[in-house]
Each structure stands twice: as C-alpha cells, then as structure tokens.
C-alpha cells in the first residue's frame, strides 16, 4: 500500500497507542524535536484514521483528540471519521467519537448534519449511557438545524423514567432553546412539570437542580416572562434544603423581585431566614447579594445583609473579604451608609497584598465620591498612587480620571483644582494615562471658559520642565499642554517663557507628531506676541492703552471680549504685559524662533517641515517689519508697515477663534452630497493600508488644520523610571550649559528668579511638596480673587452638546432569540394557565391559585394600570443608567438637581401577566 492509501495490517497491529503518543511527546523536549515528533505522529494518524478497522480508527481519533484539546491542533479533517465512529456498535468507539465531536465540532463543521441521524438514534437508545453521550454532545455542539430536528426526541426524554437521562435532557434544553426558540412551545410545559412534580419526589435534588438551573439562565435574559412561575419558585425557596438549588432560586428571585414589588415583599422574609440560618457561606453570600441588589428597599433585610457583609470583611479568608467588598459595592448605590460605616476596612484594603482586593476597595472608594468630597478623596488617592506599584497606581489614576469626568465632569465644581490635579497626575512617576489626561485637558479647555487661565498655567508648568520630555508616557500630556498654551496664550502671564519652553532643545525627544503640535503652538504664540506688540505701538501713540486693542472696523470674536472682561479683573497683569512687549523682547523672540527652527525646515517629517516653514515665514516677515520700524521710527508708517501688521492681525484673528466640542453625530448630520457613493467597496484598500495603523478616532475634531497626533506607537514604552530620573538631573545640567553657550538667544528676562525656579527637576519629592503648597496657595489665590470665598462659588459653565458627548454607550440589546424565547414562554404560560395547565398542577397549587385565576383574569383590566406602574420601578434601575445620558442632553447646568430624581420614566406597556402568588 502506498503512502496515501489505507494502512496496512502491520500498521494496525503495531499502531502507536495513545499512551505511546503521550510518552513520546513527553520524551521530546519542547521545541523543534517535539514538533517534528508530533508532525510525524500526525502523518501516521492521517493514515490510520482512514482504516476500515474501527479499532485502529478509534485509537487514531483518540490521539487526535488529545492533540486537539491540549495542543490545539486543527483536526477538522477527521470530523467525518468522528461521525463514523459514533455509529459504531461498540461503546468504546462511540464514546471516542462523541468526545472528539463535542470537543472539536463547530457550527461551521460541514459533517454536522450527518450526525443528526446518529444523535436521534442514540437519544432513543435503551442504553442510558448512550443517551447520555448523545445529550452531552448535543449540549455542546447544538445548532439551529440540530435543535430543530431533535426537539421531538428531547421532548420524549423530558418524561423519561430515568432521572439520569431526564436531568441531562433538561439541561440540554437551554442550548436547544437558545438556538431554536420554537422549541419552547413544544417543551416548555414539560420543563415546568419537572419543576413541580419532582419538587416533592425523593431523588437527591439533582432533577430539581437541573430544572432550576435552566430557569435561572433563562430568567437572566428576560425575567418578565417567568413571573407566573413565581409560586413554584417560592415553594422551592421555602422547602428545599439543597444549597445548589437554593442559590439558583435566589438568583431567579433577584430578577423577578425587581419586576414585582409585591413578590419582593413575600420572599424577603424567607431569604432573611435563610441568611440567618445557613452555614454555607456561598448560600449566605447569595442571600446577601439578592437582598442588596434587588430588595434594597427593605430596611431590616439590608441591615442583616450589611451585618453579614461585615462578618465577611473581617474574616481571615481572603475570598470572603473580597466578596465582602463586592457586597458593599452592590449596597453602595442605595445605602451609602453601609460603605461609610465600613470605611476603615475599605481604606485599609487599599493597601492589601492582593491586587484584586485593592481594586475592589478602589471601586468602593470611588463609589463614595460626590461633589463635596471629591477633592479630599482625590488627595488621599494621589497619596496612595505615589506609594503603590506602577500597575495599581495607574489603576487609581484611571479610576480618578473616569470618575471625575463622568457625565461631562458632573462632580467637579472647582475646575481650577481639577486642572491642577491633572497636572499633578502627569508628574506621578508611574503615570501611564497620558492619553486620557491629554483628552481631558483639551476637552476642559474647550468646554469651560473660566478655567482657561489656570489651564494655561498648568500647561506652562508642564512645558517648562525639560525633565518631563524624557518620559515617553507623558508625551501625550505635553502635547495637550502645548496645544493649550498655544490656543489660550492670551491668558499667559509670560508668552515668551512659553515660547522658550516650546522651542527648548530637548523637544527633539518628542515623536514628530507631537513635535508638530509644539511648533504650531509656537506659531500661535508668536502671532499673539507680534499682534500685541503692534497694537501697543499704535495704542501708545493714540488712544488710552487697552491691552486688547479694538481696531475699528474689526469685529472681534466673542471670546476676545470675554477676555477683556477677565482681564480687567487682573488689570495689573495687563500693565505687566504692556511692559513685556517691547521692541527688544520681540526682536529676541524672533531671533530665538528663527535660530531654533531653521534647522528643522529640512526635517523629513512633512508635518514638522510644513509647520516650521509657517512659523519661519511669519517670523521673517515680522523681523523685516521690526527692523524697518527701527530705522524709520514713526516717520514712515508706510504701506509696507500696514500690510505686515494687517497680515499679522489677520493671522491672529484666525487663530483666536474659539473652538467648541463637537458632537459625535455631527458628521452624520452633514447631508451626503449628490453623486457621492459612500457604500462603495474599498476593500482593496485594505491590502494597501494593511501596515498603516488607523489612528484611534479622536472623540472630537477641530475645525482648524492643526492637530492632535493620533499615533502613540512611536513612543517606546520601555523607558522606565530610573532612566527618566537620571535624565532629569542630566537634562537640567544640559540645559544650563546650553543656556550659557547660546545665551544671546535667550530672553534677557527680568524674571530671572522666576526662570531659575521654573526648570525644576521632575519627580523630586521636595518639589512635590512645593506643588502641594503651590496648589494650596493657588486655590487660596483664586479664592481671594473671585468674588466670594469657598463653597458659594458658582460652578463655571460647562459647555455640553445636544447629543452624546463622548462615545455613545452601546445600548444593551437583547438577543433576538431571547425575545423569541420569552415570547414563546409567555404564550405557553398564559395559554396554559386558564385551561390545560391547571390539570397538571400539584394539589397545593390547584387549591390555591386555580380559583384565583379567573378572578385575576377578569380583574386584569382594572389592575393593569396599577401593576404597570409597579413594574416601572424595577426597570428604572437599568433605564436610569441609559437615561442618564438622555437627561444630560436636556442640559441642566447644575447636576445636583439631576441626581435626586427617581425618574418617572415612560415605560412601554407590557402585556399583563396574571399574578398567582398573591
């Protein structure tokens, strides 16, 4: 026989067994030796599996199964052989075949349909073990086709006399329903019967456990449909002693209780009873979870639950402590007192050895945050962040960032504080949240006008520190700082200083995309300086000086006027500025710009090159103007002068236009022009652009053609702290040297004191204290400046959009199938209740609820309104979260109002389900 043919007799006789294969693999060291061995064995197996001898085939398949499940080899080529083996009369072969099928088959496996017949045959086999194999396999590989074809067989098994088979059939139903919702109509009644009849029977509860397990999973997806079954579940809750069953039933009630308050009232007692009585921690915890997540309105139950949580928290077992924290987290939204009561434990857990526990504690701390304590909590957390390992430190920063920015910075009242917190975060040694901080700095800049001066101050502090440039993790933040300082340069105390920072030599450490932001910001600063200078020149000769000149015939944008207002408050700084823009200083700036940027004009990066040329163009133009100014003084204020200053003014005007945040859906609202085909397939582009990584979509876009670099990829993430620390000292000395050598390019500043302190080494612990002091001073300062002290200070206006601000949260969609299932369930239940169903009911049920049925049904008309009102309550929990956004849109500016409302949402009327419990 040739290689491609079937195996010879010798092959079958001396076939490697599974043991041989396993031993062989273990003998060969991992690496090439092992993989050659495996591929050799695979070749053998490929031959063996085509054998007509089922035994050989079965051994081959066993080996394949081993390779598949533990070494992840693709064995789809053997699918047919697996099917073949399942039809073998030998139990061993059948078992092997089914094992391979259940481990390796997928919905796409083409021979799946061939298995249908065999499954059917085995499902109706008299050997219960064969039935079990088929059910087990079906429960894993079930597809729509299989489910549809085999539903009748499973239906039969649901009434099997063997519990062993019946429980598997019941468990299997879950898969069948999810694939083929119509099966509900056929099987649901029998499923319910299993729930009722077996409850009393003396099997050790496995049957009931399986049935309840199915209901538990079904109810998770769409609980409403199962409300009519509440009496059955209630009975189980009170009577069962099986913890596995009780846990599942509790989960079901957690779902149902949210929908039906009267049901909650009824079950809350037995649950508390269970909680007090049970020894099993798992059950106790399930009770706790059920109470705090669904029955939180019942004070006594919650009290008891919190007591239990406290026991958990103080336990020596870490698992229980973890769960205790989780329990608290669930209580927090409705009963914050429980968290506050256990505050010490929570705070202590922040420094636990186990990272998971720390995380839970952090979440809890964040759940306590509100607008009153956000400042204090953030201060504590920053302290923890400084002490923690890098990973957890970033976790802390991340949660602070996300909590504070929630709902468009809902909880932030003092934005000056928040912005300086962001600046402080950037300086935390392990900070890796550059992207988020970058986003928030710019976002706040655009949304909150009042905070811009402080923003510029924070930006300046970051820019001016050369040590920060060495840390690639915060390049993104620097990019934001640069943008902010350029965009809002008019609020700067000393634009020259910013210019110097933007052009400092160490900026060559930045990736090109961010460097171009720096350069463009330099452009803005330059145009601002020139403009201010020129307008002073004029102002000085004519009208009384007003720092922001109002040129006749020029309409200034709103922001400019805004600025004059804020500026009046600090009119001293205007004077100071007036002194700043002397001819000499401007000339110095121009020299600085030209000398430091000229080398970059030849940069290979187009972005940089282009921006550099823009700046140089402007600088040279201005230089000419100034020198000619110098010569002729005021004699010849001729056309050239006018022209240049007009150009500068135009540029400045263009740059000083205000940006606002842009809605996500803004683009959708732009009508598609005629003749533009958007759906055309561009798939060919994929191959071309494969290696170009698409930028992460920015959550806002800007009108002007500057902007944020989208790739952080070039940033090498390896750089670690030690490096940046050593480089901090190094860089300061480098800079000092540079200054000495190129002294003439630096501004002869009379703020030398200021300048010397403005290049502090980053990450210096002492400096940190200064920062804190600064911060304190700053807040004091700002408080003095502003009208009233402290709390009464109004929250600045935060611009919000009509529609979703950040990425819209995907609305949770219920699976179409789930709807179908619950629809079918409802039909079955409602259809049955009145007629046939009651015949099968247990005695208790018959006596109690049957007579009520009709009453209820006739009553439904009148009670429906009342009930639907109740139901809304349950729904609100979810809806509030989704609705939060909606409410945001309508845009009250002070959030406290928003939080209080329990929301009387309009809910869709649901079909009324008769209530048998009450």
């Amino acid at each position: 026989m040739s290689g491609t043919g079937g195996p010879s007799l010798m092959d079958s006789l001396f076939q490697r067994t599974l043991d041989d294969l396993i031993k062989g693999i273990r003998l060969h060291l991992p690496g090439p030796a092992q993989s050659t061995f495996i591929s050799k064995s695979l070749d053998e197996i490929r031959r063996e599996i085509t054998s007509t001898d089922l035994h050989t085939k079965s051994t081959a398949l066993q080996k394949l199964t081993y390779l598949h499940s533990l070494h992840h080899f693709d064995i789809s080529f053997a699918a047919f052989h697996a099917v073949e083996l399942t039809s073998s009369p030998s139990f061993l072969h059948k078992k092997t075949g089914y094992l391979a099928a259940s481990l390796s088959f997928r919905p796409s496996t083409d021979v799946l349909l061939l298995l249908t017949n065999q499954l059917r045959k085995d499902l109706s086999s008299t050997n219960q073990h064969e039935v079990s194999l088929a059910l087990e396999c079906l429960s894993v590989i079930c597809t729509l086709d299989l489910a549809r074809d085999l539903t009748p067989d499973i239906f039969n098994l649901l009434m099997s006399s063997k519990i062993f088979v019946r429980k598997k059939a019941v468990a299997c139903l879950l898969k069948v329903f999810s694939q083929y919702p119509d099966a509900v109509r056929v099987c649901f009644k029998r499923l319910v019967e299993n729930l009722e009849t077996v409850g009393g029977a003396g099997d050790n509860g496995t049957m009931l456990a399986a049935t309840v397990g199915v209901f538990c999973e079904l109810a998770r997806k769409e609980p409403r449909a199962y409300l009519p079954l509440a009496p059955e579940f209630y009975k189980i809750l009170v009577e069962s002693r099986n913890n596995w069953v009780l846990i599942k039933v509790l989960k079901i009630f957690a779902q149902l209780g949210r929908l039906e308050p009267r049901l909650a009232k009824k079950v809350v007692e037995p649950i508390c009873e269970l909680m007090k009585r049970s020894e099993a921690k798992s059950l106790v915890f399930e009770c706790v979870r059920t109470v705090v997540s669904s029955f939180y309105e019942y004070e006594f139950a919650v009290k008891l639950a919190v007591e239990k949580i406290r026991e958990f928290l103080l336990d020596s077992d870490l698992n229980l402590r973890y769960l205790g924290l989780q329990g608290l987290l669930l209580v927090a939204p409705h009963h914050l007192w429980a968290v506050v009561e256990n505050k010490e434990v929570v705070i202590k857990s922040l420094s636990d050895v186990d990272r998971n526990i720390k995380l839970e504690a952090l979440r809890l701390v964040m759940s306590m945050v509100c607008d009153d304590n956000v400042v204090e909590i953030c201060r504590v957390l920053v302290g923890y962040a400084l002490k923690s390992d890098p990973e957890f430190c970033n976790e802390i920063l991340r949660s602070m960032l996300s909590t504070c920015s929630k709902n468009v910075y809902e909880i932030i009242i003092d934005f000056d504080w928040y912005v300086s917190l962001l600046g402080e975060m950037a300086r935390i040694p392990h900070c890796q949240n550059g992207e988020e901080i970058e986003y928030q700095l710019i976002d706040i800049g655009m949304r909150v006008k009042d905070v811009r001066p402080e923003l510029v101050r924070v930006g300046r502090d970051l820019l001016i520190d050369p040590a920060l440039l060495g840390n690639p993790f915060i390049h993104r933040i620097l990019s934001a700082a640069a943008w902010v300082s350029g965009e809002y340069v008019k609020f700067s105390r000393n634009p020259f200083e910013i210019m110097e920072a933007l052009l400092q030599p160490r900026t060559n450490l930045l990736p090109p995309s961010i460097r171009s932001v720096y350069i463009h910001s330099a452009f803005k600063v330059l145009s601002f300086c020139l403009h201010s200078y020129l307008s002073f020149e004029k102002g000085a000769s004519s009208s009384p000086p007003n720092f922001v000149d109002i040129e006749p015939g020029f309409t200034y944008s709103e922001s400019e006027q805004e600025f004059t207002e804020t500026d009046q408050a600090t009119s001293s700084s205007a004077l100071h500025k007036r002194d700043t823009f002397t001819q000499e200083s401007i000339a110095n700036v121009l020299t600085l710009v030209i000398t430091s940027l000229t080398p970059l004009a030849e940069s290979h990066d187009v972005e940089i090159q282009e921006r550099v040329r823009n700046v140089l163009g402007l600088a040279r133009l201005a230089q000419q103007e100034i020198s000619c100014h110098n010569d002729q003084k005021e004699k010849m204020v001729d056309k050239a002068d006018l022209k240049t200053s007009i150009i500068i003014r135009l540029i400045n005007d263009a740059l000083s236009e205000d940006f606002g945040p842009i809605s996500f859906s803004a683009q959708e609202r732009v009508p598609v022009p005629d003749g533009l085909v958007l759906e055309e397939n561009l798939s060919k582009l994929d191959s071309i652009c494969a290696d170009v990584q698409l930028p992460i979509s920015e959550s806002f876009s800007l009108v002007k053609p500057i902007f944020l670099p989208a790739d952080g990829d070039s940033i090498s993430n390896q750089q670690n702290e030690e490096e940046s620390e050593t480089s901090a000292a190094e860089s300061t000395s480098l800079l000092a040297e540079h200054r000495k050598r190129h002294g003439l390019f630096y501004l002869p500043s009379d703020h030398s004191k200021d300048a010397s302190s403005s290049f502090p080494p980053a990450n210096d612990p002492k400096q940190r204290d200064n920062d804190v002091d600064d911060l304190v001073k700053l807040t004091e300062e700002s408080l003095v400046l502003k009208r009233k002290p402290n709390l009464s200070r109004p929250r600045p206006v935060v611009v919000k959009l009509d529609e979703g601000d950040r990425l819209p949260i995907a609305v949770k969609k219920t699976d179409e199938n789930d709807d179908l299932i619950s629809g079918a369930v409802r039909d079955v239940l409602l259809g049955n209740e009145a007629s046939s169903h009651s015949n099968n009911l247990s005695g208790r049920r018959k006596g109690k609820s049957h007579s009520k049925d009709k009453v209820e049904n006739s009553e439904t008309g009148s009670s429906s309104k009342r009930r639907s009102k109740h139901r809304n309550h349950g729904k609100n929990v979810e809806e509030n979260e989704n609705g939060e956004k909606g409410k945001q849109k309508s845009g009250g500016k002070h959030k406290s109002r928003r939080r209080a409302d329990g929301g009387v949402d309009v809910a869709v009327e649901k079909p009324v389900i008769p209530d048998f419990l009450l």
Partner: protein
C-alpha cells in the same frame, strides 16, 4: 453558567479544556495564554477570583495543577469553588490520590468525569457516589467492548478481510 473549564499545570501546560460557550480555536488559545499569564503569576495566599474581560475566573490550585472555571459576573464564586473541589474529590476517588500524571495519561477519563458533573455549563450531579457509580458503569461497558475487539477471532477476521 460556566463558560469554560481549564486545567493548567504550574509550568503553564494545559491539561484539560472544556468549552461550554462557543469560542473559535484562535480565541481559545488566546484565552489560555491570557489566563495562565494572569493566574500562574498570582501569589499563593491571595483570593481565588480574578476578573477577566467582564467575566470572573475562579481558580484553585491543587498540588501542581490549577483548576480554573470562568463564570459571569453575577454568578456565585463560592459555589464554583465548591464545584471545583467536588471535581477534584471525584478525580481523587477514581484514581486513588490523583496526580498530574493520571490526568495526562487518562485525559479522556477526566473528560468523562467532568461530563458527568457538568452539562451545558451547569452542575448536574452533586453526589460523588453517583458520579463514581456512573463512571464505573461506563468503564465496564468500555472494557467489554475492548475485550471483544481484542479477541483473536476479531483480529483474524480483520486480517482476512
């Protein structure tokens, strides 16, 4: 419900995988890689739960093996720990103080036992005795089949085919 069961050795070798929710082969390898990276690096005296992609993974180490099960966020972690223990006890009873090698060489047996304990991601049998009885019943069926296959007459029949 349980989404999958993993047995990983301390060296990161996979000893058993069972998937109750659909995952492609690629996803499976990724899941194993991620989880073994996460779980094997955790110290010995920490809690037995890790959060992973919005799910929870409950794990417990027995000798050199980590037993991991992945569940939904709102499932009961302690219950799963009990299931894991249940599984281990059954293995132990069957193999007689089970060790990693037992699972390596009788990997199918481990699967069969798991299949008697869990079905469709749910616990189906909480009695150790029952499981032991079922597994031994199936074993005897298998033995019977083997004997028949190995009988001389069968081999001759095969050879002369």
């Amino acid at each position: 419900m349980i989404h999958f069961v993993l047995l990983i050795s301390r060296q990161g070798k996979v000893r058993l995988t069972k998937w109750y929710s659909p995952y492609s082969q690629k996803e499976r390898s990724k899941v194993i890689r991620e989880l073994s990276g996460m779980i094997l690096t955790r110290g010995p005296k920490l809690c037995n739960f890790v959060e992973w992609r919005g799910f929870k993974v409950v794990y417990k180490r027995y000798a050199s093996l980590y037993f991991c099960m992945c569940i939904n966020q709102d499932d009961n972690e302690l219950e799963i720990l009990e299931i894991i223990h249940h599984f281990v006890e059954i293995l132990d009873r069957y193999f007689g103080s089970v060790c990693e090698l037992d699972l390596i060489f009788s990997f199918q047996k481990a699967y069969y036992m798991l299949d008697e304990i869990l079905i469709a991601g749910e616990l189906q049998e909480s009695s150790k005795k029952t499981v032991a009885r079922l597994v031994s019943a199936q074993d005897s069926l298998v033995e019977a089949a083997k004997e028949e296959a190995n009988s001389i007459s069968n081999i001759i029949a095969q050879a002369t085919k």
